[in-house]
Symmetry: C2
Subunit: 422 residues, 2 copies
């Protein structure tokens, strides 16, 4: 069963907003065994949508269409679908109930424009929207089953789960293929090197496809498995993930797709240890990443984002003489920042970053991309200096943050030799 | 002149990565007066790419294709283009020079696979890639001019600017229409309310289109102007931006599209004032947003991300009794955090956040979505409590951060009455 996705709307067509719905829907469909042939986007014009629906009806067995179901004059998807099917619009009682109930539940008056949302093509089946005013609908053009959903991602997701995926499962007349995905997250090798090391794993397992995804600065190895038996597919993927781990060793963050901050958090929780952070160039990014992890209050206690040198002295107790003699971007400063953060927050571990993310501030001996990282542990402290060639402030900050967390991860996992600390 | 965009690659087709290139290219083309009809995505299969190129050649005068120019066996765009044009591949000397030079400059050995990147369709014009190994190329199928670019966004952007946009400007045989865009950023009203207030401005100005874009939690009013004379279009847009400002008053952050943190930074720089932050629930997000602003070291000095209560006491000097009696999420705690951050960092202003972003931690009287915000100024301190209904950790944190920054913005702009402070 082959599917095509269509996103409608001038804001997407002209690039004012990025279409994230199609990727979300594609992944859900592929996991259910529906092959996605491709995606299409057109604007708000009725004729354009109508022609595109007609084209898709000749290419695909299934189509998911998003957008254009709102109350305004720009929302023309229902009209276009009716034209493509050669029928008229009619007031659908289920759809009207959906719209009316939404306003009643909120005690709000219903605008006349919203009544338009209950006009569906004749013969369409209403797909109620539990979280918004726009009901969706399903209909068949030629031999293609079309599902029309609202463009608001939150509403689209609920309706995809509730209406589209179950309907597709029913339509899979052939024995349902099981599809599973497993992700191995890695850090420290470039994409090309990871690719070289893992590409041939594809040939060593049956029905396995290996893909790479850059989640900068991490590289995620995506293992796609398929087969008839779920247990079998799962076992196959676990063995493939193990093979990836064997090849990549300490570069592997997690064989279940967890990202750096979550991996560090899990390691700390396992030791019942706490972490403090001192950030200069990363400007709060490390704290943000750590507190994005559910349950982070169990290990993360404090980050001192000491952007000004004066704050490094006042809050973290960095020695003014260190800053005067060596500068803010120096291993000794990173050490004092890490020690200071650990002390003021009474934490078990601390990491510190101080560097030059750019675009300005680089010098001949400390170019943009230079970072000094400090790690303070129960056993002592250590610092490292790295220089990255990205020349981009955002990329630099992201790799500085990852590198600092990775020093702690490798220490906690025993990859950093204890003797070298202190 | 009508354009269609094509993104190729299985990772995009299956939803493993989101296609951000098409939105970027669409906006650039539209601004240059090239109407984008729509976007298409297909996978890596040569036949699929070939068929799609043939279809596009019948629809559009211009096409920009991204992806599939790498060194691996999955990269089949050049072959597909040659087949669509009915020619063979040949080793292009310019392309070979591009690839070879990239490796030479880095002192790296060139892999044999990379030689494949210099195989272009016969008759194609090489588009050198100054920032990567994959050269692009241009060729004409039927009456459509195709530009093939790498899929890596950083490389695509450089090559679009250097090769595609100048070529399109030359091809615009009709009098070139000037297109300009102006963005008014707002915060504090929902999208529907902003829409109601500004929608009819479209009718009051010639050749103006008004669009809304949610940059959560901000709403950006996008004014698209067109005409024959650049000065005229610019003046028209300035008048329209002024009209938006009149309607929305203190909800307007900037009539030149600046986002919250940048607006606050500019206000602080104008006063030569410094800012410290104390963050609990926002977990470093405010610091991250402030340090994303170029030149932030001119106003931002410190954020104490005091996630643990103990850190609030130790670092910011919050009274343990306040926490014991009233809890961490309380106006009095927010006040003490803001005062503490201002004092320890010796800053002119400080803002503080303490709240419950979720998913857990809510209670009957302090549900998920509750935030207390503190503002410490030269004149005294004040706190506010808000409850947001989003029920989503990420959205809650973003609106908490924006609300804290907005309290300071409104104070600095004189919208918050001084008498109520202290």
């Amino acid at each position: 069963m082959q599917a095509v996705l269509l996103a409608t709307g001038d804001e997407i067509r002209t690039g004012a907003i990025i279409d994230t719905n199609s990727a979300y829907i594609a992944e859900k469909l592929e996991m259910q065994g529906v092959a996605v042939y491709g995606h299409v986007c057109v604007g708000d014009r009725r004729a354009d949508i109508r022609e595109t629906l007609a084209t898709i009806s000749r290419q695909a067995a299934v189509a998911v269409v998003t957008g254009g179901l709102g109350p305004t004059a720009d929302d023309r998807t229902a009209e276009a679908a009716a034209e493509a099917l050669g029928v008229g619009l009619h007031l659908d009682p289920d759809a009207l109930k959906n719209v009316t109930r939404w306003f009643e539940q909120r005690g709000l008056p219903m605008g006349t424009a919203n009544r338009k949302q209950a006009l569906l093509p004749e013969g369409a089946v209403c797909l109620p929207n539990p979280v918004g005013t726009a009901p969706g609908f399903a209909l068949t053009i030629a031999d293609c089953r079309f599902f029309f959903l609202p463009g608001v991602p939150r509403e689209m997701k609920v309706m995809l789960d509730r209406h589209v995926l179950p309907a597709l499962a029913e339509r899979m007349t052939d024995k349902r293929a099981v599809r599973q995905i497993r992700v191995v997250s890695t850090f420290g090798l470039p994409e090309s090197a990871v690719g070289e090391k893992v590409r041939d794993i594809e040939d060593q397992f049956e029905d396995l496809r290996v893909g790479l995804r850059v989640v900068f600065p991490e590289i995620h190895v995506r293992l796609y498995g398929s087969g008839e038996d779920e247990t079998e597919v799962r076992r196959n993927l676990a063995a493939a993930a193990h093979a990836v781990q064997t090849r990549l060793g300490r570069r592997v963050l997690s064989t279940s797709g967890a990202e750096m901050a979550a991996v560090v958090g899990k390691l700390l929780l396992a030791r019942q240890a706490t972490l403090a952070v001192a950030e200069s160039c990363t400007g709060g990014l490390i704290a943000k990443q750590l507190t994005d992890v559910p349950g982070s209050s169990g290990f993360f206690v404090f980050s001192g984002v000491t952007y000004a040198n004066d704050a490094k002295v006042r809050v973290l107790g960095v020695d003014q003489a260190t800053l005067d003699d060596l500068g803010a971007v120096h291993e000794d400063t990173a050490v004092e920042m890490a020690e200071g953060a650990r002390r003021v927050a009474a934490a078990d571990f601390a990491i510190a970053t101080t560097g030059i993310a750019g675009p300005d501030g680089g010098t001949a001996d400390k170019p943009v991309g230079t970072v000094c990282i400090g790690l303070a542990t129960l056993d002592g402290v250590r610092a490292w200096r790295y220089v990255y060639p990205f020349g981009d402030r955002d990329l630099n900050r992201r790799i500085f943050a990852a590198m600092a967390l990775d020093r702690l991860r490798q220490y906690l996992q025993g990859h950093l030799v204890l003797e070298s600390i202190g």
